[in-house]
Protein backbone atom coordinates (compact mmCIF):
# COMPACT_ATOMS: atom_id res chain seq x y z
CA UNK A 1 0.00 0.00 0.00
CA UNK A 2 1.25 3.41 -0.88
CA UNK A 3 0.62 5.94 1.88
CA UNK A 4 2.55 8.72 0.19
CA UNK A 5 0.59 11.83 -0.62
CA UNK A 6 0.21 12.04 -4.35
CA UNK A 7 -0.63 15.67 -4.83
CA UNK A 8 -2.02 18.53 -2.88
CA UNK A 9 -5.82 18.70 -2.73
CA UNK A 10 -6.11 22.26 -4.04
CA UNK A 11 -9.87 22.44 -3.51
CA UNK A 12 -9.49 21.88 0.20
CA UNK A 13 -6.69 24.38 0.45
CA UNK A 14 -8.71 26.98 -1.45
CA UNK A 15 -11.78 26.47 0.72
CA UNK A 16 -9.71 26.76 3.89
CA UNK A 17 -8.25 29.99 2.54
CA UNK A 18 -11.74 31.36 1.85
CA UNK A 19 -12.97 30.63 5.38
CA UNK A 20 -9.84 32.23 6.77
CA UNK A 21 -10.27 35.31 4.58
CA UNK A 22 -13.90 35.75 5.61
CA UNK A 23 -12.96 35.60 9.27
CA UNK A 24 -10.09 38.00 8.76
CA UNK A 25 -12.42 40.44 7.00
CA UNK A 26 -14.70 40.57 10.05
CA UNK A 27 -11.87 40.99 12.49
CA UNK A 28 -10.33 43.69 10.30
CA UNK A 29 -13.61 45.59 10.01
CA UNK A 30 -14.00 45.67 13.76
CA UNK A 31 -10.38 46.68 14.24
CA UNK A 32 -10.72 49.52 11.72
CA UNK A 33 -13.92 50.84 13.33
CA UNK A 34 -12.57 50.61 16.87
CA UNK A 35 -9.15 51.91 15.82
CA UNK A 36 -10.64 54.90 14.02
CA UNK A 37 -12.85 55.80 16.98
CA UNK A 38 -10.15 55.40 19.58
CA UNK A 39 -7.56 57.16 17.43
CA UNK A 40 -9.71 60.23 16.86
CA UNK A 41 -11.72 60.11 20.06
CA UNK A 42 -9.07 59.52 22.71
CA UNK A 43 -7.72 63.07 22.53
CA UNK A 44 -11.18 64.51 23.15
CA UNK A 45 -12.08 62.35 26.14
CA UNK A 46 -10.95 64.08 29.30
CA UNK A 47 -12.30 64.36 32.82
CA UNK A 48 -13.90 67.63 31.79
CA UNK A 49 -15.50 66.02 28.71
CA UNK A 50 -17.06 63.23 30.79
CA UNK A 51 -18.25 65.32 33.69
CA UNK A 52 -19.02 68.61 31.93
CA UNK A 53 -22.24 69.90 30.44
CA UNK A 54 -22.96 71.97 27.35
CA UNK A 55 -23.43 75.43 28.89
CA UNK A 56 -21.00 77.21 26.56
CA UNK A 57 -22.55 75.70 23.46
CA UNK A 58 -22.82 72.09 22.43
CA UNK A 59 -20.80 72.41 19.22
CA UNK A 60 -17.64 73.79 20.81
CA UNK A 61 -14.95 71.13 21.10
CA UNK A 62 -13.03 73.08 23.75
CA UNK A 63 -15.76 73.34 26.37
CA UNK A 64 -18.53 70.89 25.51
CA UNK A 65 -19.01 67.86 27.75
CA UNK A 66 -21.28 64.84 27.56
CA UNK A 67 -22.28 64.25 31.17
CA UNK A 68 -26.00 64.96 30.56
CA UNK A 69 -25.96 62.44 27.73
CA UNK A 70 -24.21 59.80 29.83
CA UNK A 71 -26.75 60.38 32.59
CA UNK A 72 -29.67 60.19 30.14
CA UNK A 73 -28.38 57.04 28.46
CA UNK A 74 -27.84 55.32 31.81
CA UNK A 75 -31.28 56.34 33.09
CA UNK A 76 -32.86 55.06 29.89
CA UNK A 77 -31.05 51.72 30.03
CA UNK A 78 -31.89 51.17 33.70
CA UNK A 79 -35.59 51.98 33.23
CA UNK A 80 -35.74 49.86 30.09
CA UNK A 81 -34.19 46.89 31.90
CA UNK A 82 -36.62 47.24 34.80
CA UNK A 83 -39.43 47.12 32.28
CA UNK A 84 -38.28 44.46 29.86
CA UNK A 85 -36.85 41.82 32.21
CA UNK A 86 -39.99 41.09 34.27
CA UNK A 87 -42.31 41.11 31.25
CA UNK A 88 -39.91 39.03 29.16
CA UNK A 89 -39.27 36.48 31.91
CA UNK A 90 -42.96 36.06 32.69
CA UNK A 91 -43.75 35.57 29.01
CA UNK A 92 -40.97 32.99 28.70
CA UNK A 93 -42.27 31.17 31.80
CA UNK A 94 -45.71 31.01 30.23
CA UNK A 95 -44.34 29.69 26.96
CA UNK A 96 -42.08 27.00 28.43
CA UNK A 97 -43.89 25.96 31.61
CA UNK A 98 -47.58 26.45 30.89
CA UNK A 99 -48.38 26.70 27.19
CA UNK A 100 -48.85 23.51 25.20
CA UNK A 101 -45.84 23.50 22.88
CA UNK A 102 -47.68 22.71 19.65
CA UNK A 103 -51.02 24.45 20.16
CA UNK A 104 -52.04 27.10 17.59
CA UNK A 105 -52.01 29.83 20.25
CA UNK A 106 -48.42 29.05 21.23
CA UNK A 107 -47.42 29.13 17.57
CA UNK A 108 -49.09 32.50 17.08
CA UNK A 109 -47.29 33.90 20.13
CA UNK A 110 -43.95 32.59 18.92
CA UNK A 111 -44.57 33.99 15.47
CA UNK A 112 -45.43 37.35 17.00
CA UNK A 113 -42.21 37.37 19.01
CA UNK A 114 -40.13 36.53 15.95
CA UNK A 115 -41.86 39.26 13.96
CA UNK A 116 -41.34 41.74 16.76
CA UNK A 117 -37.62 41.04 16.52
CA UNK A 118 -37.69 41.84 12.81
CA UNK A 119 -39.48 45.19 12.99
CA UNK A 120 -37.20 48.12 12.05
CA UNK A 121 -36.36 50.28 15.04
CA UNK A 122 -37.79 53.46 13.51
CA UNK A 123 -41.18 51.74 13.44
CA UNK A 124 -40.85 51.21 17.18
CA UNK A 125 -40.14 54.92 17.49
CA UNK A 126 -43.38 55.80 15.71
CA UNK A 127 -45.26 53.13 17.63
CA UNK A 128 -43.96 54.59 20.89
CA UNK A 129 -45.09 58.07 19.87
CA UNK A 130 -48.55 56.86 18.87
CA UNK A 131 -49.13 54.33 21.62
CA UNK A 132 -47.20 55.40 24.71
CA UNK A 133 -47.01 59.17 24.32
CA UNK A 134 -50.37 59.92 22.75
CA UNK A 135 -52.58 57.02 23.78
CA UNK A 136 -51.26 55.95 27.19
CA UNK A 137 -49.89 59.38 28.14
CA UNK A 138 -53.02 61.12 26.89
CA UNK A 139 -55.18 58.62 28.74
CA UNK A 140 -53.29 59.18 32.00
CA UNK A 141 -53.66 62.94 31.64
CA UNK A 142 -57.40 62.60 31.01
CA UNK A 143 -57.89 60.29 33.95
CA UNK A 144 -55.72 61.82 36.65
CA UNK A 145 -54.90 65.38 35.63
CA UNK A 146 -58.15 66.63 34.12
CA UNK A 147 -56.57 66.92 30.71
CA UNK A 148 -53.63 69.13 31.68
CA UNK A 149 -50.33 68.07 30.18
CA UNK A 150 -48.23 65.71 32.29
CA UNK A 151 -47.73 62.49 30.43
CA UNK A 152 -48.82 63.25 26.87
CA UNK A 153 -45.35 64.35 25.75
CA UNK A 154 -42.01 62.76 24.96
CA UNK A 155 -40.49 61.59 28.24
CA UNK A 156 -37.84 59.32 29.72
CA UNK A 157 -40.48 56.80 30.77
CA UNK A 158 -41.99 56.55 27.26
CA UNK A 159 -38.58 56.23 25.61
CA UNK A 160 -37.73 53.46 28.08
CA UNK A 161 -41.07 51.74 27.46
CA UNK A 162 -40.57 51.88 23.68
CA UNK A 163 -37.05 50.51 24.05
CA UNK A 164 -38.36 47.77 26.35
CA UNK A 165 -40.90 46.66 23.74
CA UNK A 166 -38.16 46.60 21.13
CA UNK A 167 -35.80 44.46 23.23
CA UNK A 168 -38.54 42.14 24.52
CA UNK A 169 -37.88 39.32 22.00
CA UNK A 170 -34.22 39.16 23.04
CA UNK A 171 -35.11 38.64 26.69
CA UNK A 172 -37.91 36.17 25.93
CA UNK A 173 -35.79 34.00 23.67
CA UNK A 174 -32.79 33.95 26.01
CA UNK A 175 -34.97 33.16 29.04
CA UNK A 176 -36.83 30.43 27.19
CA UNK A 177 -33.55 28.77 26.31
CA UNK A 178 -32.42 28.98 29.92
CA UNK A 179 -35.70 27.53 31.20
CA UNK A 180 -35.58 24.67 28.74
CA UNK A 181 -32.03 23.88 29.85
CA UNK A 182 -33.22 23.24 33.43
CA UNK A 183 -33.24 19.42 33.78
CA UNK A 184 -36.80 18.06 33.96
CA UNK A 185 -35.61 15.83 36.82
CA UNK A 186 -35.46 18.89 39.06
CA UNK A 187 -39.07 19.82 38.26
CA UNK A 188 -40.19 16.23 38.91
CA UNK A 189 -38.27 16.06 42.18
CA UNK A 190 -39.95 19.21 43.42
CA UNK A 191 -43.45 18.18 42.31
CA UNK A 192 -42.98 14.71 43.81
CA UNK A 193 -42.29 16.37 47.17
CA UNK A 194 -45.71 17.96 47.05
CA UNK A 195 -44.67 21.36 45.71
CA UNK A 196 -47.16 23.23 43.56
CA UNK A 197 -46.22 24.14 40.02
CA UNK A 198 -45.87 27.78 41.09
CA UNK A 199 -43.48 26.91 43.93
CA UNK A 200 -41.50 24.62 41.63
CA UNK A 201 -41.06 27.39 39.08
CA UNK A 202 -40.32 30.02 41.70
CA UNK A 203 -37.93 28.08 43.95
CA UNK A 204 -36.25 25.62 41.59
CA UNK A 205 -36.64 26.48 37.91
CA UNK A 206 -36.17 30.25 37.92
CA UNK A 207 -33.11 30.33 40.23
CA UNK A 208 -31.49 27.70 38.03
CA UNK A 209 -32.31 29.75 34.92
CA UNK A 210 -31.13 33.06 36.40
CA UNK A 211 -27.78 33.19 34.56
CA UNK A 212 -29.65 32.72 31.28
CA UNK A 213 -32.10 35.48 32.22
CA UNK A 214 -29.12 37.75 32.82
CA UNK A 215 -27.72 36.85 29.42
CA UNK A 216 -31.01 38.08 27.99
CA UNK A 217 -30.78 41.31 29.97
CA UNK A 218 -27.18 41.83 28.81
CA UNK A 219 -28.18 41.32 25.18
CA UNK A 220 -31.13 43.68 25.62
CA UNK A 221 -28.87 46.38 27.07
CA UNK A 222 -26.45 45.83 24.23
CA UNK A 223 -29.23 46.22 21.69
CA UNK A 224 -30.86 49.15 23.47
CA UNK A 225 -27.96 51.31 24.58
CA UNK A 226 -26.95 52.37 21.09
CA UNK A 227 -30.34 52.61 19.37
CA UNK A 228 -31.49 56.10 18.47
CA UNK A 229 -34.53 55.61 16.27
CA UNK A 230 -36.92 54.38 19.00
CA UNK A 231 -36.23 57.37 21.25
CA UNK A 232 -36.18 60.17 18.68
CA UNK A 233 -39.91 60.83 18.97
CA UNK A 234 -40.52 59.42 22.41
CA UNK A 235 -38.16 61.20 24.76
CA UNK A 236 -34.70 62.19 23.55
CA UNK A 237 -34.03 65.92 23.39
CA UNK A 238 -31.80 67.90 21.06
CA UNK A 239 -30.65 70.13 23.89
CA UNK A 240 -31.62 70.57 27.53
CA UNK A 241 -30.17 72.99 30.03
CA UNK A 242 -30.89 70.68 32.99
CA UNK A 243 -30.66 67.02 33.79
CA UNK A 244 -34.03 65.26 33.86
CA UNK A 245 -35.33 65.10 37.43
CA UNK A 246 -38.41 63.02 36.82
CA UNK A 247 -39.32 60.26 34.44
CA UNK A 248 -41.74 62.58 32.72
CA UNK A 249 -38.86 64.84 31.65
CA UNK A 250 -37.08 64.59 28.35
CA UNK A 251 -33.42 63.63 28.39
CA UNK A 252 -30.25 63.86 26.32
CA UNK A 253 -28.74 60.66 24.99
CA UNK A 254 -25.28 59.81 23.66
CA UNK A 255 -26.51 58.14 20.50
CA UNK A 256 -28.98 60.90 19.72
CA UNK A 257 -26.27 63.43 20.52
CA UNK A 258 -24.05 61.84 17.88
CA UNK A 259 -26.92 62.07 15.42
CA UNK A 260 -27.48 65.76 16.30
CA UNK A 261 -23.78 66.60 16.06
CA UNK A 262 -23.42 64.99 12.66
CA UNK A 263 -26.54 66.51 11.11
CA UNK A 264 -27.10 69.85 12.84
CA UNK A 265 -23.64 71.28 13.37
CA UNK A 266 -22.94 74.64 11.70
CA UNK A 267 -19.29 73.66 11.22
CA UNK A 268 -18.78 69.93 10.92
CA UNK A 269 -14.97 70.07 11.04
CA UNK A 270 -14.97 71.81 14.41
CA UNK A 271 -17.53 69.39 15.82
CA UNK A 272 -15.67 66.27 14.70
CA UNK A 273 -13.64 65.78 17.90
CA UNK A 274 -16.82 65.91 20.04
CA UNK A 275 -18.43 63.46 17.67
CA UNK A 276 -15.60 60.97 18.01
CA UNK A 277 -15.38 61.54 21.74
CA UNK A 278 -19.11 60.89 22.20
CA UNK A 279 -18.96 57.70 20.16
CA UNK A 280 -15.99 56.49 22.19
CA UNK A 281 -17.80 57.22 25.46
CA UNK A 282 -20.90 55.39 24.16
CA UNK A 283 -18.83 52.35 23.20
CA UNK A 284 -16.99 52.24 26.52
CA UNK A 285 -20.27 52.66 28.42
CA UNK A 286 -21.98 49.82 26.58
CA UNK A 287 -18.92 47.70 27.19
CA UNK A 288 -18.92 48.49 30.92
CA UNK A 289 -22.67 47.76 31.22
CA UNK A 290 -22.13 44.39 29.54
CA UNK A 291 -19.11 43.67 31.69
CA UNK A 292 -21.14 44.31 34.85
CA UNK A 293 -23.79 41.90 33.61
CA UNK A 294 -21.22 39.24 32.77
CA UNK A 295 -19.56 39.56 36.20
CA UNK A 296 -22.88 39.33 38.05
CA UNK A 297 -23.78 36.27 35.98
CA UNK A 298 -20.45 34.59 36.71
CA UNK A 299 -20.99 35.20 40.41
CA UNK A 300 -24.48 33.67 40.33
CA UNK A 301 -23.21 30.69 38.34
CA UNK A 302 -20.49 29.92 40.85
CA UNK A 303 -22.98 30.25 43.69
CA UNK A 304 -25.31 27.80 41.96
CA UNK A 305 -22.49 25.34 41.51
CA UNK A 306 -21.17 25.49 45.05
CA UNK A 307 -24.41 25.80 46.95
Amino acid sequence: MNLKRRQRDWQSVAFYAVTLAATALIVLTILVILGDIVWHGAAQVSWHFITGGTKEGMFDAQTAGVFPMIFGTLALVVLMTLGVVPVGVITAVYLTEYARPLSPITRIIRGAINNLAGVPSIVFGLFGLGFFVQFVGGGLDQMFYGGTLHYRKPALIWAAATMAVMTLPVVIVATEEALRAVPSGLREASLALGATKLKTIWKIVLPEALPGVLTGAILAVGRGAGEVAPIMFTGAAYYLAHLPNSWTDQFMHLGYHVFVLSTQSPDIERTKPILYGSVLVLLVMTFLLNLTGVLVRAKIRSRLQHG
Binding site: L186, A189, A192, L193, G194, A195, K203, E208, G307
Partner: protein, 252 residues
Protein backbone atom coordinates in the same frame (compact mmCIF):
# COMPACT_ATOMS: atom_id res chain seq x y z
CA UNK B 1 -54.12 -9.75 51.24
CA UNK B 2 -55.58 -8.09 54.30
CA UNK B 3 -55.55 -4.30 54.50
CA UNK B 4 -53.33 -3.43 51.60
CA UNK B 5 -52.11 0.16 51.75
CA UNK B 6 -52.52 0.51 48.01
CA UNK B 7 -55.02 -1.46 46.00
CA UNK B 8 -54.53 -1.38 42.23
CA UNK B 9 -57.63 -2.73 40.50
CA UNK B 10 -58.20 -3.23 36.76
CA UNK B 11 -55.88 -0.41 35.79
CA UNK B 12 -55.46 0.41 32.10
CA UNK B 13 -53.20 3.19 30.94
CA UNK B 14 -52.68 4.97 27.62
CA UNK B 15 -50.00 7.29 26.27
CA UNK B 16 -52.11 8.96 23.58
CA UNK B 17 -53.52 6.03 21.65
CA UNK B 18 -50.85 3.55 22.73
CA UNK B 19 -51.98 1.36 25.59
CA UNK B 20 -49.21 0.75 28.13
CA UNK B 21 -51.05 -1.15 30.89
CA UNK B 22 -53.77 -3.80 30.56
CA UNK B 23 -56.10 -4.68 33.45
CA UNK B 24 -53.44 -4.64 36.14
CA UNK B 25 -54.31 -5.81 39.66
CA UNK B 26 -51.77 -5.53 42.48
CA UNK B 27 -52.10 -5.04 46.23
CA UNK B 28 -49.29 -3.33 48.10
CA UNK B 29 -48.82 -4.58 51.65
CA UNK B 30 -48.03 -2.08 54.42
CA UNK B 31 -44.47 -1.98 55.80
CA UNK B 32 -43.27 -4.38 53.16
CA UNK B 33 -41.22 -3.87 50.04
CA UNK B 34 -42.88 -4.67 46.76
CA UNK B 35 -40.75 -4.98 43.63
CA UNK B 36 -41.99 -4.42 40.06
CA UNK B 37 -39.81 -6.35 37.61
CA UNK B 38 -39.92 -7.04 33.90
CA UNK B 39 -38.14 -6.21 30.65
CA UNK B 40 -37.90 -2.61 29.37
CA UNK B 41 -41.20 -1.22 28.18
CA UNK B 42 -43.28 -3.65 30.23
CA UNK B 43 -45.10 -0.84 32.03
CA UNK B 44 -43.56 -1.18 35.48
CA UNK B 45 -42.41 2.43 35.69
CA UNK B 46 -45.68 3.63 34.21
CA UNK B 47 -47.61 1.86 36.94
CA UNK B 48 -45.27 3.22 39.61
CA UNK B 49 -45.82 6.75 38.35
CA UNK B 50 -49.59 6.24 38.51
CA UNK B 51 -49.35 5.75 42.26
CA UNK B 52 -48.40 9.40 42.92
CA UNK B 53 -49.93 10.66 39.67
CA UNK B 54 -46.62 11.82 38.19
CA UNK B 55 -48.05 10.71 34.85
CA UNK B 56 -50.40 13.69 35.06
CA UNK B 57 -47.43 15.78 33.91
CA UNK B 58 -47.38 14.06 30.53
CA UNK B 59 -50.04 15.42 28.19
CA UNK B 60 -52.32 12.96 26.45
CA UNK B 61 -52.19 10.22 29.06
CA UNK B 62 -55.34 8.46 30.27
CA UNK B 63 -55.99 5.99 33.06
CA UNK B 64 -58.98 3.81 33.88
CA UNK B 65 -59.61 1.44 36.78
CA UNK B 66 -59.06 2.21 40.41
CA UNK B 67 -55.98 2.93 42.50
CA UNK B 68 -56.93 3.25 46.15
CA UNK B 69 -54.65 4.58 48.86
CA UNK B 70 -56.04 3.40 52.21
CA UNK B 71 -59.39 3.01 50.46
CA UNK B 72 -59.45 6.43 48.79
CA UNK B 73 -59.36 6.57 44.99
CA UNK B 74 -56.29 8.65 44.10
CA UNK B 75 -57.74 9.50 40.68
CA UNK B 76 -61.03 10.81 42.11
CA UNK B 77 -61.75 14.35 40.91
CA UNK B 78 -61.74 15.82 44.42
CA UNK B 79 -58.24 14.50 45.22
CA UNK B 80 -55.58 17.12 45.92
CA UNK B 81 -52.54 15.87 43.97
CA UNK B 82 -50.23 17.96 46.16
CA UNK B 83 -51.54 16.19 49.28
CA UNK B 84 -51.25 12.80 47.56
CA UNK B 85 -47.60 13.43 46.68
CA UNK B 86 -46.80 14.41 50.25
CA UNK B 87 -48.07 11.00 51.34
CA UNK B 88 -46.52 9.07 48.46
CA UNK B 89 -42.89 10.14 48.06
CA UNK B 90 -40.66 9.29 45.14
CA UNK B 91 -37.00 8.58 44.40
CA UNK B 92 -35.99 8.71 40.75
CA UNK B 93 -33.74 6.66 38.52
CA UNK B 94 -31.30 9.49 37.99
CA UNK B 95 -30.41 11.15 41.27
CA UNK B 96 -31.71 14.69 41.03
CA UNK B 97 -30.58 16.80 43.98
CA UNK B 98 -31.40 20.48 43.68
CA UNK B 99 -28.41 22.74 43.02
CA UNK B 100 -28.57 23.86 46.64
CA UNK B 101 -26.81 22.88 49.84
CA UNK B 102 -27.25 19.44 51.39
CA UNK B 103 -29.29 21.01 54.17
CA UNK B 104 -31.52 23.00 51.81
CA UNK B 105 -32.20 19.90 49.74
CA UNK B 106 -33.59 17.97 52.68
CA UNK B 107 -35.37 21.02 54.09
CA UNK B 108 -37.02 21.87 50.74
CA UNK B 109 -40.15 19.77 51.20
CA UNK B 110 -40.62 21.06 54.74
CA UNK B 111 -40.11 24.68 53.78
CA UNK B 112 -42.65 24.55 50.95
CA UNK B 113 -45.12 23.26 53.51
CA UNK B 114 -44.45 26.44 55.45
CA UNK B 115 -42.13 25.18 58.19
CA UNK B 116 -39.82 28.03 59.14
CA UNK B 117 -38.78 27.24 62.72
CA UNK B 118 -35.02 26.84 62.57
CA UNK B 119 -34.54 24.31 65.37
CA UNK B 120 -37.36 22.12 64.12
CA UNK B 121 -36.01 22.27 60.56
CA UNK B 122 -32.54 21.31 61.79
CA UNK B 123 -33.96 18.45 63.84
CA UNK B 124 -35.97 17.02 61.00
CA UNK B 125 -33.16 17.39 58.48
CA UNK B 126 -30.85 15.53 60.86
CA UNK B 127 -33.42 12.80 61.47
CA UNK B 128 -33.98 12.32 57.74
CA UNK B 129 -30.27 12.20 56.95
CA UNK B 130 -29.74 9.63 59.72
CA UNK B 131 -32.59 7.48 58.43
CA UNK B 132 -31.08 7.67 54.94
CA UNK B 133 -27.70 6.54 56.39
CA UNK B 134 -26.02 9.69 55.14
CA UNK B 135 -25.62 11.71 58.33
CA UNK B 136 -22.18 10.42 59.29
CA UNK B 137 -20.78 11.31 55.90
CA UNK B 138 -22.20 14.82 55.63
CA UNK B 139 -22.71 16.15 59.15
CA UNK B 140 -19.65 18.42 58.90
CA UNK B 141 -20.60 19.90 55.53
CA UNK B 142 -24.36 20.36 55.57
CA UNK B 143 -24.00 23.71 53.85
CA UNK B 144 -21.85 22.49 50.98
CA UNK B 145 -23.49 22.02 47.62
CA UNK B 146 -25.29 18.72 47.18
CA UNK B 147 -23.70 18.47 43.75
CA UNK B 148 -20.31 17.82 45.40
CA UNK B 149 -21.53 14.45 46.72
CA UNK B 150 -20.80 11.16 44.96
CA UNK B 151 -23.53 9.46 42.91
CA UNK B 152 -24.46 7.07 45.71
CA UNK B 153 -24.51 9.83 48.28
CA UNK B 154 -26.68 11.96 46.00
CA UNK B 155 -29.19 9.14 45.71
CA UNK B 156 -29.27 8.68 49.49
CA UNK B 157 -29.74 12.45 49.76
CA UNK B 158 -32.76 12.13 47.47
CA UNK B 159 -34.09 9.42 49.77
CA UNK B 160 -33.51 11.69 52.79
CA UNK B 161 -35.31 14.48 50.95
CA UNK B 162 -38.28 12.21 50.31
CA UNK B 163 -38.31 10.95 53.91
CA UNK B 164 -38.23 14.47 55.35
CA UNK B 165 -41.86 15.18 54.44
CA UNK B 166 -42.84 11.96 56.26
CA UNK B 167 -44.66 10.06 53.54
CA UNK B 168 -46.39 6.73 54.16
CA UNK B 169 -45.08 5.23 50.96
CA UNK B 170 -41.84 5.67 49.07
CA UNK B 171 -41.77 4.86 45.37
CA UNK B 172 -38.34 4.07 43.94
CA UNK B 173 -37.87 4.05 40.19
CA UNK B 174 -34.72 2.01 39.49
CA UNK B 175 -32.85 3.90 42.20
CA UNK B 176 -29.58 2.00 41.72
CA UNK B 177 -29.34 1.74 37.95
CA UNK B 178 -26.71 4.48 37.76
CA UNK B 179 -24.71 3.37 40.80
CA UNK B 180 -21.68 1.13 41.33
CA UNK B 181 -22.04 -2.13 43.31
CA UNK B 182 -20.85 -0.64 46.63
CA UNK B 183 -23.28 2.26 46.46
CA UNK B 184 -26.02 -0.15 45.36
CA UNK B 185 -25.37 -2.39 48.36
CA UNK B 186 -25.73 0.59 50.68
CA UNK B 187 -29.07 1.58 49.16
CA UNK B 188 -30.36 -2.00 49.36
CA UNK B 189 -29.39 -2.19 53.01
CA UNK B 190 -31.15 1.12 53.51
CA UNK B 191 -34.32 -0.14 51.84
CA UNK B 192 -34.51 -2.98 54.35
CA UNK B 193 -34.07 -0.55 57.26
CA UNK B 194 -36.73 1.78 55.91
CA UNK B 195 -39.35 -0.96 55.86
CA UNK B 196 -40.07 -0.52 59.54
CA UNK B 197 -41.39 3.00 58.95
CA UNK B 198 -42.49 3.01 55.34
CA UNK B 199 -44.11 0.98 52.64
CA UNK B 200 -41.76 0.74 49.67
CA UNK B 201 -42.48 0.06 46.04
CA UNK B 202 -39.38 -0.38 43.91
CA UNK B 203 -39.03 -0.75 40.17
CA UNK B 204 -35.88 -2.60 39.22
CA UNK B 205 -34.14 -4.17 36.29
CA UNK B 206 -31.89 -6.08 38.58
CA UNK B 207 -33.34 -9.48 39.46
CA UNK B 208 -30.94 -10.08 42.33
CA UNK B 209 -31.94 -6.76 43.78
CA UNK B 210 -35.62 -7.69 43.72
CA UNK B 211 -34.78 -11.06 45.27
CA UNK B 212 -32.58 -9.52 47.97
CA UNK B 213 -34.67 -6.65 49.20
CA UNK B 214 -38.33 -7.21 48.42
CA UNK B 215 -41.08 -9.17 50.15
CA UNK B 216 -43.44 -9.26 47.19
CA UNK B 217 -42.66 -9.23 43.50
CA UNK B 218 -44.83 -8.38 40.54
CA UNK B 219 -43.62 -9.51 37.14
CA UNK B 220 -44.85 -7.52 34.15
CA UNK B 221 -44.60 -8.30 30.47
CA UNK B 222 -45.84 -6.10 27.61
CA UNK B 223 -48.11 -4.06 29.88
CA UNK B 224 -49.74 -7.03 31.61
CA UNK B 225 -49.17 -8.36 35.08
CA UNK B 226 -47.94 -11.92 34.55
CA UNK B 227 -47.50 -12.99 38.14
CA UNK B 228 -47.66 -11.40 41.55
CA UNK B 229 -46.66 -13.26 44.69
CA UNK B 230 -44.27 -13.42 47.62
CA UNK B 231 -40.76 -12.78 46.33
CA UNK B 232 -39.61 -16.12 47.64
CA UNK B 233 -42.22 -17.93 45.60
CA UNK B 234 -41.59 -15.91 42.42
CA UNK B 235 -37.88 -16.68 42.48
CA UNK B 236 -37.94 -20.30 43.59
CA UNK B 237 -41.22 -21.72 42.40
CA UNK B 238 -43.06 -19.45 39.97
CA UNK B 239 -46.41 -20.58 38.68
CA UNK B 240 -46.01 -19.09 35.26
CA UNK B 241 -43.53 -20.34 32.67
CA UNK B 242 -42.80 -16.80 31.44
CA UNK B 243 -41.91 -15.69 34.96
CA UNK B 244 -39.60 -18.62 35.36
CA UNK B 245 -37.85 -17.88 32.07
CA UNK B 246 -37.38 -14.25 33.07
CA UNK B 247 -36.13 -14.72 36.63
CA UNK B 248 -33.75 -17.45 35.56
CA UNK B 249 -32.36 -15.13 32.89
CA UNK B 250 -33.53 -17.07 29.88
CA UNK B 251 -34.99 -13.90 28.35
CA UNK B 252 -35.31 -10.22 29.16
Amino acid sequence: MDNPVIQIADVNFWYGTKQALFDVNVAIAPHQTTAFIGPSGCGKSTLLRCLNRMNDLITGTRVTGRIALNGDDVYAPEVDVIELRKRVGMVFQKSNPFPKSIFDNVAYGLRIQGLTDKTELEGRVMKSLKKAALWDEVQDRLHDSALMLSGGQQQRLCIARAIAVEPEIILMDEPCSALDPTATAKIEELIQDLETDYTIVIVTHNMQQAARCSDYTAFFYLGRLVEFDATNKIFTNPTNKQTEDYVTGRFG
